[in-house]
Structure formats: C-alpha cells, structure tokens
C-alpha cells in the first residue's frame, strides 16, 4: 500500500511539474503584458482625461469670450454713437435750455436704440447710460433708483472711470441700485468720452444675465462629479456650482495655486480624492475658467481593465491546468503501463508479447528495450534451469560413484581377507580409512569443499587402494599448502585417480606410481593427477572428453567427462580438464580451477 501511494505521488509530481512550469510561464507572460498594458492604458486614460478636460474648458472659455465680446461690441456701438455723445455733452454745456422738446426726442431715440438692442438679445438684462450731466438713459422707463445709493461709488462705475474708455467687465454680482429688482448680472461698464474734448461724459453699463454663464458652465459634463467654475482676475469667484458652500467653508478651492500656476493643468488631492484641475485664462478680461474632474471617475475604467486581466490570468491558469493534466496523462499513461509490466516481471511473469505500448519515441524505445530485456532474462532463466538440471544429474552421478558397489565389495573383501589373516592392524587401518573416505564424500551435503578436504579425501582413497593393490601401487601427494584454503567442487580428483589406477597402472606387471600435485598458476589452481602407466593413444586422447566410452562408466568410474562438465558448469569454460599423455610413459591429467576462497 505504502509503496503504491509513493508511486502515485511520484506520478503526480510529473503532472504538478508540468502544471508548475506551464502556469509560471503563463502567469509571467500575462502579468508582464498586463502590467505594461495596464500602465500604458492608464497613462492614456489620464492623458485623454487631461485633453478632454482642456477641450471642455476651452469650449466654455470660448463661449464666455463670445458673450463678453458681444457685450463689448454693443458697448462700442453705443460708445461711438454720435447722438449719445451729443446728448450727453448737452447738459454739460448747459446751453440749449430752450430745446427741451428736442432733447426729449433725442432721449427717446436713444432709448429706442437701446430697446432694439435689448430685443435682439434676451441675455442682456439692462443697458444704462449715466451722464455726468445727471441724465440717465435706459431701455423703458419703469425703474426707480434707490435713493440711498450713489451710482458714482459703485465698483463698476469707479473702474470704468479709471480705465478711461476701455470696457471693464465685473465679476458676477447682484445689481443693487434699482428698487425692487435684484438681478444677478455680469456688468460691462465703459466711460463715454466726448469725441472732441476727450472729456468724460458719463458711464455706459450693460448688464448681462448671469444665467447665461451659469447655463454654459452647469451644462458641462466632466464625469459624474466634475464641474467648471470661473475666477476673475483678482481670484474672486465669478461662478461656482457650490458657491454657498465655499463661502461657508464647507468646500474650498485651491485658488492661490490656480492663480499662480503657469501650466494648463495640475493634479491635486482633496478629501482623499485625486482631482484634475484644468485652467484656461480668457485673455482680455483675465477670467480663469477652471475645470475640475475627478480621476476616480475615469479610473473606474482602469480598474475594469485590471479586473479583466485578473480574470484572464485565472482563465489561463485553468487552461494551463487542463493542458498539463492532459500532457501529464499522455506521458504517464504509457509509463504506468510500463510500470504495470515491470510489476508483473517482478512477480515472475515474463510474458511480454501481449503488451503494446504506444507513446512518444522515448517511452516506446524504453518499452521495447524492456521487452527485449525480459526476453533475454527469460532465455537466461531457461538456460539456468537446464544447467541446474545438468549439475544435479552430474552430482547424482558423482554420488553414485561413491557408493560404487565394486569398490565397496573389493574394500570389504580386502577387510575380510585381512581379518582372516589376522592382520588386525591392517583391518583397523582399512576400516577407519573407509569410514573417513565416505564421511568426506558426503561432506555434510555441501557441494563446495576446501581443497584440504578434497586432498584428504583422495588420500584415504589411495590408502584403501594401496592396501588392496599392495606393492603394485605407489603414490605420493605433493600439494602446495598455500592452496589448501581455497574451495572447489567436491569429487574432482577421485574419478581421475580411479581412472589412473584402473586404466593406467593396474595392467602394468610391476605396478606403477600415482602422484597428486597441487599449486597456484597465474591466479588459477592447478591440480594434477600424474601416473606412469600405459598412457593413452593420441587419437583416443583427442576425443577423450567428447566421446567417453560407455563401458568405462559401466566399469566403475564416474567418468572423466562428468568431472570436466561439472567444473565447466560451475566455473565456466575457462576451467576444466586437460590431458598430457604418451604411450608407455604415463598420463598427466590437469585440473584447472579458479582460486576461490
């Protein structure tokens, strides 16, 4: 279970890696693009806002300029009117008293002119001409001046006198010198000078309905909260939509900065809100048209952009997740199949032919290689099985050889014979040798034994054979003590010695000698069985390992071939038996073994 879980986590981590890389890439890309675009667009919005506000303010100022200009035109019309000039100069001269009637006619003519101007333009509230001679001309007659107010003391009058013929535009105010009428107006006043003497004859006053200006300004759209207001040259408010609030300090405008600033706009912070203040000055009269727009109104659009970017990022993340899941499953599915295949192999199932993995090249290659590997393992296992079988068979043969009945008969015969001859010492020797021989043969069931034990074993064997053959058999064991510690498979020497006795020495009339030698040669162990018997004919020697005579096996020996095969099964083809023989001289059998501790 735990292992399975671990595998799952491992598998998931492929997916999560892909997801991580994907989402990182997407987030970073979208973020960078988003940030750039966001700032770019908000800059554009601000720039547009500035541009838009300036256009609005410019438009307002143009409209107002037009009205003021129009009033100036009207004032010029009257200023240069000869009959007005004439009429005003009359009283001053204080002659023509007789022409009262003519005077009245003149006044009526002028009043009619004023009246016609008034009728042309509804936005003019009133036109007055105040003569120095005490004459007052206006349109219509239904007005009464307030007694307590001295016209000469009023601002517009004084300023007109100072300007000496130039038109003066006042701020917005209540016109206060007429009884029962208090209209809000913007006044244009102008001193009328005598054409000839250039002396002051009086002051012309044109009152423009203030509503014209409030209408121009209040209709302006500068966002939800934005507005336009007007300051005159001195910084007094001509128009403000919340003038009352300003007078009571509930609202304020940064008038000083507006008056002093050179730039056409600036951004200020008021009540925690960023405001764009745009200023346009009307050249002649010095009025400043000020547009106030709230950037927050405009920046809602910017927030929308940011919102949609965040949504885009989340959508991209979602897509990244889906794609990464898909890719990960594409990659992991064949891996999972392969994994299942490996698990089956782990459990010993090497049937790989029915598995078909289709994927990208790498995984397919991997699967193919794995399949090949499995097939190879399968073949090897088959091989091992067969080898094992052969080993068992040869061991069985070797063991059979130990309990060779002939050898036992002969040995027991010899004991009996010696017992009858009352050679007790020999009986004891023979019996104990026989016992030790068999004990070493079994070697507690171990397949591998020390060389020391193998030599011991062959010593007892030779001892038994010596008792039997007596003078006919001589033997000698010459083994390098260094190699005694190495291990070899058992029952290597005994068949060779048996062979040497039965086929080499037994038929010699004088008997023969067997030497057992042992030493280390170039990292290998070399054991030799040397006899001085009849030898082996060379053509027979060539085939001694291939084609072993069956009769020989039958005759008792386990057979040289079996020994050779066993060595090769255990230690490989580098090891085994070699023969040196000469007819009539004797035979040497070399046993090559690895030096294994």
């Amino acid at each position: 279970m735990i292992k399975l879980k671990y595998d799952k986590i491992k598998f998931r981590s492929i997916q999560s890696h892909i997801f991580l890389y994907f989402s990182t890439l997407i987030i970073i890309t979208v973020l960078i693009i988003g940030i750039i675009f966001y700032y770019e667009s908000s800059r554009t919005i601000e720039k547009n806002a500035d541009e838009y506000a300036y256009q609005i303010v410019e438009q307002v100022s143009r409209n107002i300029e037009y009205y003021i200009g129009y009033m100036e035109d009207v004032s010029s019309l009257l200023y240069y009117n000869p009959s007005i000039n004439n009429y005003l100069s009359q009283g001053q001269a204080e002659y023509k008293q007789q022409n009262v009637l003519e005077n009245d006619l003149e006044e009526q003519k002028i009043a009619a002119l004023l009246d016609s101007i008034m009728k042309m333009r509804k936005d003019i509230v009133s036109i007055f001409i105040f003569g120095k001679n005490g004459k007052i001309i206006t349109n219509g007659n239904n007005f009464e001046l307030k007694e307590y107010i001295d016209i000469n003391e009023l601002d517009w009058y004084k300023q007109a006198s100072q300007k000496n013929g130039q038109p003066v535009v006042s701020s917005s105010h209540v016109q206060k010198f007429i009884k029962n009428q208090h209209p809000w107006v913007v006044s244009l006043s102008r001193q009328i000078n005598d054409f000839r003497t250039k002396k002051s004859l009086g002051v012309l006053l044109i009152d423009l309905n203030y509503k014209v200006i409030t209408d121009i300004c209040s209709k302006i759209n500068l966002g939800q909260k934005g507005y336009v207001f007007i300051l005159n040259k001195e910084g007094n408010i001509v128009y403000h939509p919340q003038q009352q609030l300003i007078y009571t300090n509930l609202k304020s405008e940064n008038i000083e900065k507006i008056i002093s600033t050179e730039s056409r706009s600036f951004i200020e912070k008021k009540d925690g809100k960023k405001r764009l203040v745009t200023i346009k000055t009307i050249p002649n009269i010095g009025w400043k048209i000020v547009g106030v727009s709230y950037l927050n109104d405009l920046l809602i659009a910017r927030e929308d952009i940011r919102n949609s970017y965040i949504i885009v990022i989340f959508v991209c993340l979602l897509i990244a997740t889906l794609i990464s899941v898909r890719i990960a499953s594409n990659i992991s599915r064949p891996i999972k199949k392969l994994e299942a295949l490996m698990k089956r192999a782990e459990n010993g199932d090497f049937n790989v032919n029915n598995i078909d993995i289709k994927s990208s090249d790498e995984i397919e290659h991997l699967a193919a290689t794995f399949k090949m590997m499995l097939q190879r393992i399968k073949a090897l296992m088959q091989q091992i099985k067969e080898d094992q079988k052969a080993i068992r068979k040869s061991e069985l043969k070797a063991l059979q050889a130990q309990i060779n009945p002939h050898f036992l008969y002969n040995a027991l015969d010899a004991i009996v014979w010696m017992a009858e001859s009352k050679k007790h010492d020999k009986v004891v020797l023979m019996t104990s040798a026989l016992a030790k021989f068999f004990r070493l043969s079994l070697s507690k069931g171990d397949e591998i034994i020390y060389i020391k034990d193998e030599i011991e074993h062959i010593k007892y064997y030779l001892m038994i054979q010596k008792i039997r053959y007596s003078k006919k058999l001589e033997y000698e064991i010459l083994v390098d003590p260094e190699i005694l510690k190495y291990r070899i498979i058992k029952l290597v020497l005994q068949p060779l010695v048996e062979n040497a006795i039965y086929h080499g020495i037994k038929n010699l009339p004088d008997g023969g000698k067997i030497e057992i030698k042992g030493k280390q040669v170039e990292g290998k162990i070399l054991l030799q069985v040397v006899d001085n018997g009849v030898g082996i004919p060379s053509q027979k020697l060539q085939h001694i390992l291939e084609n072993e005579n069956r009769s020989k096996v039958k005759a008792g020996g386990v057979g040289i071939k079996n020994v050779h095969e066993r060595i090769q099964l255990y230690y490989g083809e580098d090891y085994g038996l070699t023969f040196e023989s000469e007819e009539g001289q004797g035979t040497t059998v070399n046993v090559w073994l690895p030096a294994v501790i």
């Binding site: 991580l20 990182t24 987030i27 105010h173 029962n180 809000w184 003038q243 009352q244 965040i310």
Partner: protein, 330 residues
C-alpha cells in the same frame, strides 16, 4: 528538487498576490456598491414656491444629491403649520421604503411615533432646521437657534442703546425652533438691565397676523424701542406695520430669515438687522449626511450650519448677496 520548490513558491506567491488584488478589487467594488444610487426623501415644512428659505434648502438638497449620487424626492406640506399633513406625508414616505429620510419637523413631539416607525424599519432619519423629541434621529442639522437669537438680542441691544422695551413676534407656539429663538433672545437681553421684554406673541407664521400683532403692540406701547421678528413671515408682518405707521428708525427691528420683502425693509431702514440662516447648507448637509447614514457610515449627531448678521452696510458683500439672493433666475 530545490528548483521545483522555488517555482512552486513563486507560483503560490503570484496566485496569492492575484487573490489579494481580487479581494481588494471586490472590496472596492463593495465600496463602489455602497456608492450606488440611494433614494432620499426630503420632507420640509413648506413647499410654497416663493418661500425662499425652503427653496434654498431644496437647492442645497439637489446639489448634494447630484454630488453624492442620491435620488431626491422632495416633498412637504403646502403650509408651514400643517402638522397633520406632515404626519401623513412622513407615513407615506416610510411606506415607500426610501434609504433615508430628511425631515424638517413642524412639531417637536407629535412626529415622534412616526419617527420611531421609520427607525423600526431601519430607515435612517435625519432632521434639519427643527428637531423632534426622540433619539432615533441619527443627526440633527440646523442653525444653532439659541446662539443665533442671542446674537439677535445683542444686536438689538446695541441698536437701542441698551435701554427700553422690546417685544418678540414669534411664529408657531411649541415649535422647537421658535422656543429656542425666544429663549436665546431673552437670554441675551437679560444681560442688559435697562432692557425689558414686554411680551412674546405668536403669529402662526402668517404675515398678516404678525402685522396685526405688531400694530397692537405699538398701540399699547408707544414707547417701544425694538421688535424681534423670529422668522421670515413674522418679520415681514412686523416690517409692514412699521412701514405703515411710519415708525422706521424709531422702532428698531431685528429679524430672523430674509426675503425679497425684507430686503426692501432693510434698504428702507425699516429693519436694521437680519439674522440669516444658511438653508442651502442645511439642505446640502441634510442630504449628504442622510446618504452617509444610508450607506451605513457613522454620522455626527449635531451639525450647526451657522448664521450671518446682515445689515444695510454689508448686504451686498459677495458672501451675503449669495445668502440674500440665492436665486439667479429671478
């Protein structure tokens, strides 16, 4: 493996930043949401078109509604003293479930049950000009009538050289503002030992009645030195009587609230000083505060909108002409 961890942390961090941004966003959307249009009922004492005071209130209310995104429903009884009608109007307003109600109460006590009904329905109630006797009122926005009428009393004392008889022509008996103005004036006068308040009369907000009362007072006390007109309509009646009896200059008049008629009396030396309230500010602040309350913000309990003392000399200053002549269209 370390590299992966770093990437993971990075991604988590970026996602966290995004979430914070989104939360902030939705928070500001919430803030904007709280900035959405709210309906505000403004119920005043009189909807008569030439009642300058209430017309100014209306202008202020409209200015605030535009600035703070409110939907204004401006209503009120036709006549100033009609309690029953105002109760009905308030009841109807509550039924409409507005987001807030701004009320100029015609009675201190009688409107309390209706105000509590509004409070029960979670409609914030703001009073302007005249309060009611209840603490369900979130905010009361008005002239501090006591200090304004105290100023009137001191002005009066200066005008009559701190000696003589004075009378008060008030408007509706029992109305909170009237009580306060009478009290403030008497308080101030009581500082001058040589001035005697000979009586308080009520005109019920009718100029004709005030005119009759004034004539009666002058007839009974020919030596009277000054008269205090406690509201616009009462002062108009006082002015008419003084003008008719040609007592201008001899009997000093201090008035409360202005109108075109009173301006004539100021210029004609019939009324010497006028205490002018700031009705535009009342309407403006009333709606502004009501919208704040409707958006669940904490509001100030009491806001003083201030006053100005206007005489013949200063009446055409830029500030005062805006107060005296609030309407540019006439």
């Amino acid at each position: 493996m370390k590299e992966n961890k770093f990437t993971l942390v990075l991604v988590v961090f970026i996602i966290a930043v995004l979430i914070v941004l989104l939360v902030y966003q939705s928070f500001s959307v919430l803030k904007n949401g709280s900035n959405e249009r709210k309906s505000i009922y403004v119920i005043v004492k009189s909807t008569e078109a030439n009642f300058d005071f209430w017309e100014s209130v209306r202008m202020g209310a409209e200015a605030a509604a535009k600035e703070f995104n409110g939907e204004l429903i401006y209503t009120g009884s036709q006549s100033e003293a009609d309690l029953q009608e105002q109760i009905e109007i308030l009841d109807q307003a509550i039924e409409q479930k507005p987001d807030a109600i701004v009320l100029a109460a015609v009675d201190f006590k009688a409107l309390v049950p209706m105000a509590e009904k509004a409070a029960k329905r979670n409609i914030p109630l703001i009073t302007i000009d005249s309060n009611i006797d209840s603490d369900v009122v979130k905010s009361f926005i008005a002239t501090d009538n006591i200090s304004a009428s105290q100023a009137a009393g001191h002005t009066m004392a200066e005008l009559i050289n701190k000696k003589g008889k004075v009378a008060i022509v008030s408007y509706v008996q029992g109305v909170a503002t009237a009580i306060e103005r009478e009290k403030g004036f008497i308080n101030a006068i009581s500082e001058y030992p040589n001035i005697e308040v000979i009586g308080i009369e009520h005109s019920n907000g009718d100029p004709q009645e005030a005119y009759r009362i004034t004539k009666k007072i002058i007839q009974q006390h020919p030596d009277i030195a000054g008269i205090f007109g406690a509201n616009q309509r009462s002062s108009e009646g006082v002015g008419r009587a003084i003008k008719e009896m040609k007592k201008n200059g001899k009997i000093k008049v201090v008035a409360f609230d202005s109108s075109e008629e009173q301006i004539q009396y100021i210029e004609g030396d019939i009324i010497q000083a006028v205490i002018v309230q700031k009705p535009f500010n009342m309407g403006y602040l009333g709606v502004k505060i009501a919208l704040q309350a409707a958006r669940g913000k904490q509001v100030k309990e009491r806001i003083d909108t201030g006053f100005a003392i206007i005489t013949k000399d200063n009446m055409y200053s830029p500030e005062n002409q805006k107060l005296l002549f609030p309407f540019i269209e006439r």
